[in-house]
Symmetry: D2
């Protein structure tokens, strides 16, 4: 087939290649958009379990919605063709064709506030942690207080279990960020130093992962911060270590954006080459498709092709 | 005219309305995408000077490129149809059809590292500031060390001069963030506490602006963090203060994204209604167009319609 | 799943519904874009064989490329990232990422010129036929002179065999049209009346199919003339027969266009409701996706769900 | 400016170039989509009057809506956010955000039926005319029976007046086609030969224009048949005359489609190069924007730049 059916199959080929490379490339997945509310939780959890990803960068919202579901608060099939004033009255929040009960969100929020306070109390000295550390604690919280039957499908829980670091570089820009703001307001009012999320610490941590990796592969679902953040790890390595040939080795992206508007979200891998963010553009593919269609197909195809070989793939084992 | 020529004219109407409202709504502008490299600097600076915007939320990259130009390092007309390997060899970075000299960027980076160190040294106690505070200092730096002839067009300088707060909620995810990482690595190695960017402090600051505003208007150029961040101020107010009717009052967005993929970047104002992020959807318009075409037309039209009336508009005067 | 994975599954449901309706709706498929060069030939042929479609409306180009392949002239995997001047020199024509040998096309063209002449000679009186009649003859030509091993996958041949009418309302706007122009120029020069393609005869024929159908279902792959042409059959019935409730009963479309530009190609089924082109909008779905990805998935899913039941579906049996 | 503001300005440059070329290139304009209902009538009429276009290819629908307005039946500002069932009940047809009164359309339809009959009666011998001839008669009809105050803005009337040929290669696929079908059904029932629209005659006519032109320039608003039809004139010349270097010399397109779906509507000029449809790709530009925004800006800018020079441009003077 031609056109985007072709690029879809090329994504499978690139993914198989990066998983089969004997240099064991570190694989970064960046995903933005409301992927967890959309039902992509099990797909992400599957690639964590099956050793198909080593590092995740996402939005605070996706981490939040995964957390919410682990408490038994679900997303519901809705419709975009509704009266949103009526939804407001009923306290139903809409994500395109998907509904969520706002009262459940409020219950989840209060647990995050409590968790922030608990983490704060455990810290002596400068109470600043990276978003990765916070999300690791959230994974642990799911293990301790999440519904038993929801754990297996929670990507935060799986990442916690398999020590796959999860970064949310703009954690403040999400409902988790709002709960942290409640915590902040509360502590400031009481004259206390609140828990600080230190995003530059995140930068330093992900830089170390990149620095220690012989090779790297990247997967972008959507654009925004997650894509740019993984892109810039290559640039960061060059600027901190002066390493010239620091670009990523493999990659594919699934996007509905396009290059002509000039933004990073829609940019091609070819453009990244000029910045040295990729090494060359042979092992890079872009598939223009809604990720809810394309990504499960790619993952399933790779699972079928790789089979038992995945078991021998080494997990990233790094102290950050 | 119909279709997007119509929505373009409706944006003008909504903008005039929010500027004319005697309750003096606080106007938030969120812009993402490579708007400064694209040449939008003077348009943004114009609306700052002309009292057409009160708060800006943008990406670290846009702040960075504005800063770079204030030092006399420019963006050049290029082409997307080039050999990017050749650009790499020549150290020219490409942003779709626009080129930038990487050596210039490196000079700019070292100035940011120095600025971070200087700010760090000025702080006693917890060395944590918001991105807004950092960008205010960057504006002051431009005033002190930028090229005289570039100041008038720099939006950071204008925002510093007119005290228009600029937030970059994901400042880490940008070249400014990379320079802060250099500073971080250096200080950590020397056993010192580096400057901390505290993004939850940003949340608290923007929350206070929203809280104290009788009404609010929003302008979104593109999606990503800037759009979501302004959207969530309404949600934040509700969750922190329990204020029910906290949605924005006016708004228009210029986007090339679309709602069907389910992401926040492409979502309609109607969807925001279900979340209570807007009050009702009468005074909200979406124009589907590249912002480099649409936004200058809108600003010019509003300037012509409002004329001298803009002079009487009160600037936001708030201590954060 | 949400978003376009959801609409994809809804297309399957609507397709199953229209195939299962005991009123045996006549199913119209309109497809535009380079679907045959893209490799969609077997999928279209499959739904013809399996009684999943009754009438086809497409572009002259798709009919032409099906014909070309039946002669053993294939489309090749290429790339959009090539030097097109070099391709020109080599007489390779490019369709995005797909190549075709122009010399082969020229051989195919001469066969169409000869067929037109042969049809012309067989006609006495007014030598005007519909595009449907011409394409039926092209199907017969494939049966007689196409490669044996190519027939099974040719949609024109299958449509000829199973008497599924194929309309190309803009047959002139294609390589078939160019060959007919050669025939025209030649005959005019010789003072003879050439074969005439009478597109209003096509209108009358498809109107009769619509008129005699108790119910109708529509499938649109892409927009352009094929979509509009099937849409307007409902309008045609109203204007010729004064039948008020003449809209289609079921439908789904796969498109990458969008409504906001105002064109018919991207219009929603809801808009069609205002024109009376559909009866109501309950059994209508739009999936935003490249058809090379979405349509094979839909067809496979419907085949699995319907199984043997398809065999009992009655074929359209109409004298035009 | 960068991105699409840049390509917009490049369209102006290419347009000025083709108008200034001393070889007086024949300029073909193809436009699809509901441009006339959208309010683009005066812009098209302006370029006809100002000698900025020599040949027009469009959809039957655009010709139809121009005709309808010349009778005093207008398009109205509506909204896409309406109850379309209610519109149906009120016999209001919706074109995205624009409304039209269906009863007015019916009055217009009956005039087309009468015109077809009148033309039919005037013909002896084979009653087959090209769509161009039919639309020329429609222009004359507007001159004779249209509202005096509407003529100046009617593009069909201006094309009739200034002898700018208008082709609608898929005239059958429009409300004009529906009226011609009424005429056809009526005549067939009465045992008479109806008026025949001969689309291959159109091909032959436009081929003669291309053949006699020293150079050619092309403007595409949208895709579909109009774009492909003008593209293929270059191919037609090669296949009929064996002329190798038959591609167009200048061109720009305004589109919201994109190349990655593989269709002709979204294809780049670079792809056209492989087919020999353009000579080289230096003087060709694509602007990604809604044409209701971009085209009026381009026309106004060209008018300002060219000024009085346009008056000396020779009109196409050809007997078809």
């Amino acid at each position: 087939m031609s056109f985007q059916a072709r690029t879809l199959s090329m994504c499978v080929e690139v993914y198989v290649k990066m998983l089969s490379d004997s240099d064991n490339p570190v694989i970064f997945l960046g995903f933005s958009g409301a992927m967890i509310p959309a039902g992509m939780k099990k797909v992400i959890s599957t690639i964590v379990k099956e050793r198909m990803v080593d590092v995740i960068v996402t939005t605070g919202a996706n981490a939040y919605h995964d957390f919410v579901e682990s408490l038994g608060f679900y997303h519901y099939k809705g419709s975009p063709h509704v009266d949103d004033s009526e939804l407001r009255r009923l306290m139903i929040d809409r994500i395109y064709d998907t509904f969520v009960d706002e009262e459940c969100l409020q219950k989840a929020d209060s647990k995050i506030v409590a968790l922030a306070e608990k983490i704060r109390e455990s810290l002596s000295g400068l109470p600043a942690i990276s978003s990765r550390e916070f999300l690791f604690e959230l994974g642990r919280f799911i293990d301790e207080e999440g519904l038993e039957e929801e754990k297996e499908s929670s990507f935060l829980w799986n990442c916690w279990k398999y020590k796959v670091p999860v970064f949310a570089p703009a954690l403040n820009d999400s409902s988790i960020g709002l709960s942290l703001t409640k915590h902040y307001a509360d502590f400031v009012q009481r004259g206390l130093t609140p828990l600080i999320i230190d995003p530059i610490k995140d930068n330093f941590e992900i830089y170390k992962i990149k620095r220690d990796a012989k090779k790297t592969g990247v997967i972008y679902i959507g654009g925004g911060v997650p894509k740019n953040y993984i892109q810039q790890t290559a640039y960061l390595e060059r600027s901190l270590l002066g390493i010239e040939n620091s670009g990523h080795d493999y990659g594919f992206q699934i996007t509905t954006d396009r290059p002509e508007w000039g933004g990073l979200s829609g940019c091609t891998f070819k453009e990244s080459l000029s910045w040295g963010k990729i090494k060359d553009d042979r092992n890079f593919v872009t598939c223009y498709c809604d990720a809810t269609i394309a990504f499960p197909l790619i993952v399933k195809a790779v699972l079928e092709r790789m089979g038992e070989k995945l078991k021998s793939r080494k997990r990233l084992n790094i102290n950050l």
